[in-house]
Amino acid sequence: MLPGRDAVRILFRIAFRNLTAAPVRTAILGAIVLVGSVIVVVGSSILDSIDRGMRTSIQGSLGGHVQVYDARSEGALELYGGLRGESLLEPIEDFSKVKEVLSKVPNVRQVVPMGIDQAFVAMGTTFDGALEKLREDVRRMEEGDRSAERLRLYDAHVAHVRRMLGLLGDDIQAARAIADLESREITSRMDEFLAVREARSDAFWARFEKDRYGGLEFLENRVAPSAMENAFTFIRYVGTDPEAFFRAFPLAEVNEGERIPPGRRGVLVGKQFAEEWLKLKNARRLDQIKDQRDRRGKKIAKEEELQRWVKDNRGGIREILIQLDPVQAEALAKDLRAALAAPAEEELEPLLQRLFATTDQDFDEKYRIFYGVVAPKIRLYKINVGDTITVKAPSKSGYFSSVNVKVYGFLQFRGIEKSGIAGMMSVMDLMSFRDLYGYMTKEKAEEIRRLKETMGGKEVDRESAEAELFGSAPQAPAQARAAAIDDRALMHQGGKRSAGSNGAADRVHGQDEIERGVALNAALILDDPRPSAIRRTMKDVEAAAAANGLGLKVVDWQAASGLVGQFVTLLRIVLFTAVVIFFAIALVVINNAMVMATLQRVKEIGTMRAIGTQRRFVVVMLLVEIAAVGIVFGLAGAVLGGVVVAAIRVAGGIPAVTDLLYFVFSGPALFPTLGRGPVAVSLVIVLAVAILSALYPAFIAMKVTPVEAMATDD
């Protein structure tokens, strides 16, 4: 027989009255439940938002929804790089087959070929650039150009080179002053030092006027190596079909310049990569100081790091000076004097010193002056839109492959522009990727074999090639140096080189050509990207791949993203552990309090039992009591959690203090949203814990016999 409605009513009444009768106990239990509920609601809201952010970042930048790669691969695909560098993937030999099969799988909208790798980018130094201009002048003059304009340029370029030699010499003097003169480093470079000293002398420049080509050769081959600062840099790129790439990844956009035209070879350099590695160091540091000040509220006066950047900037002025010939330098000095209200006779160097000696008071003004006055007159990035750069990589075949590609623009991923994880990535056309990757299809191998035959070329390995080109050819240094810049010579042999590379750069490749060849992995974009649909489609893709003997490994976007993708899982484990610990403690505390309360009420319970109350009634009464606490304070906690979440949003979100956070937040700050899920989960957890913790007290209550009612108070 169930207790009647009236009995239930009185049961609830007693339960609630018991709660109000012991306000302190109820408040303590309530507070525990409330805090637990807030933790769950806020924690899981943040996690859900991170999950969403990460989904946006990964799916929208490189991951797509599903990734496939060759099942024979030694390593797992890690789109954003792993701890041990790039993933060791076996190539998919013919992407077009994969595309053909997988495109037919239901829910698959797009199949995008990819190949992620790292490569060197060779960049001419500033000194090389200046020499190049000078060589152009010399060539024109030797051809008879004696115009005033040409002579003015020639003088300016000579002055620029001499100015750089001055700076270079100063550097060497400074280095020698602190170095051990007997050290191998110094002795082995003695030739260079002597060459620089020679080139700084007026006698050298007097001779230069008589034999300009000879002088240029001396400068290019004996002096320039001393100025090899930052001549190479690493880039991480994804070789792909740019057309398909931009359709597949909604976050990808060109920040400056244009997309690689269909079928063309070209590269879009990662904007963030450019900022960090290609930008003039002083400008980069100014940006960083500005970022720290504006977004983090840091002060130069207080932060050691900011002070160091200011100091580095004052020391890094040479990088700007070296770029300017005397005419340009004077023009800049004039503008700077006006902008900085400096004394009329102040030279450029002290002016720049003055500019970069930033304090909290004048930073914004000086930042503005730098970008308004200095930046337009100098080369801010080592690579600019429109440049053709030489990209080299150790190919599969062991030697270095190299391609010349045009920089069509800078690439960034919307929302995560400042994230290094995605922002370091550059996009290159698939044809160039294949050249660099060096995996030859049978046809290509055949073609090269035929070419070699017709040209009479011989196989030269890297070692002997270097010896041949550098070591044993001092009589033809200019040629050697030009060849060294473009390692393509090693692959294509001599005269074929320039024609070949120019041809490749200019040719428009057909879609068929792009797709019929090697890729390392492929991103699948689905029509229905919900997790359940992704799982289903993965099964279908596996089945289709197996049926067609493609031998593909199929992973979801999260697995494909490697360590980055594990971040949310890691956070979930952390939150879960915290919640478990918290509620374990809560369980003990609530249990204790309820046991105490039950023991205090033994007589009352005994009385109720004596006058005809069933055990069940007593048990339910106690459970209702604690469940009421759970529901009321759990709901209050959910509301408070909602308020906390809203407050976080109002306060500007959770700042992404690290690069990883920037990526997983999919922006500079995380704006958590309150979902129904976390609220429901928190209520269920809170209620379950409350009832669980009331079980033992309820058991005690159940064991109370009516005899207890008879006990006297003493």
Binding site: P3, G4, R5, D6, A7, R9, I10, R13, I14, R17, N18, T20, A21, K603, E604, T607, M608, R609, A610, I611, G612, T613, Q614, R615, F617, T705, P706, V707, A709, M710, T712, D713
Partner: protein
């Protein structure tokens, strides 16, 4: 007259550590309907144990207790609870009201457990009883706002509200001053006379005993004597 309670050869032992303490030894006792019976004896003599056995809140070690024809030793825990709810009313030495309920709700409580009456019927019965015990003015008060005598009146009302055949009272006046105690006994006696409800109460107060129509004297767990009230009162 019909026998309402029949105690047959009942013994009850308690374990005190490893020692067996016999509280009641081979007691036999019949109580007729409508009696106003006092169980008398010094502390520790077994009064309370005997009452507990009769009230089905405790089970005998040996023997049988038959209440309104039911052999309580053969009933389940749940059936015993129902028997208590429907047949027996309890009045306790220390009143034992539910502290969080009002006077009215305390009295109404057993009726709610029974679930037989409508709200209106309950209200009439509760108010009628509260009037009878003289607490019409205090229906909304909490037990803590009442004096000891008032609380015991509430307890009496609660014990009687289901119109039980048997009311058991364990030292109902022990925590009251003598005037109030006498008052309470008078009230119980009135109820006994009015409805014919059987009362069994324990006491060690001769004045209280004197109101009973019979006194069972108990000592060392055995019935020493059963005598009419007059004798107990010492020739009153």
């Amino acid at each position: 007259m019909t026998t309402i309670v029949s105690v047959r050869n009942v013994s009850k032992d308690y374990m005190l550590g490893k020692t067996v303490v016999p509280a009641v030894r081979e007691v036999s006792l019949d109580v007729d309907e409508g009696e106003f019976l006092s169980i008398a004896g010094p502390s520790g003599s077994g009064k309370t144990t005997l009452l507990n056995l009769v009230g089905c809140v405790d089970t005998p070690t040996a023997g049988a207790v038959v209440v309104t024809g039911h052999d309580t030793t053969k009933l389940s825990e749940r059936a015993l609870t129902d028997l208590r709810l429907h047949t027996i009313g309890f009045i306790f030495q220390s009143f034992n009201l539910v502290s969080v309920l009002s006077v009215f709700q305390n009295v109404e409580f057993p009726l709610l457990l029974q679930g037989r009456l409508t709200k209106k019927e309950r209200r009439e019965r509760v108010l009628g009883l509260l009037e009878a015990v003289g607490l019409s003015e205090h229906t909304r008060h909490r037990p803590s706002e009442l004096s000891g005598g008032q609380r015991q009146r509430v307890a009496i009302a609660r014990a009687l509200v289901t119109r039980p055949k048997l009311v058991l009272a364990d030292e109902p006046t022990a925590n009251l001053d003598s005037a109030t105690g006498a008052n309470i006994i008078d009230l119980m006696r009135d109820m006994n006379r009015r409805d014919g409800t059987t009362f069994i109460f324990s006491t060690h107060d001769p004045k209280v005993m004197s109101h009973a129509n019979a006194v069972v004297r108990i000592a060392d767990g055995r019935i020493a004597a059963r005598e009419p009230a007059g004798a107990a009162a010492g020739g009153r």
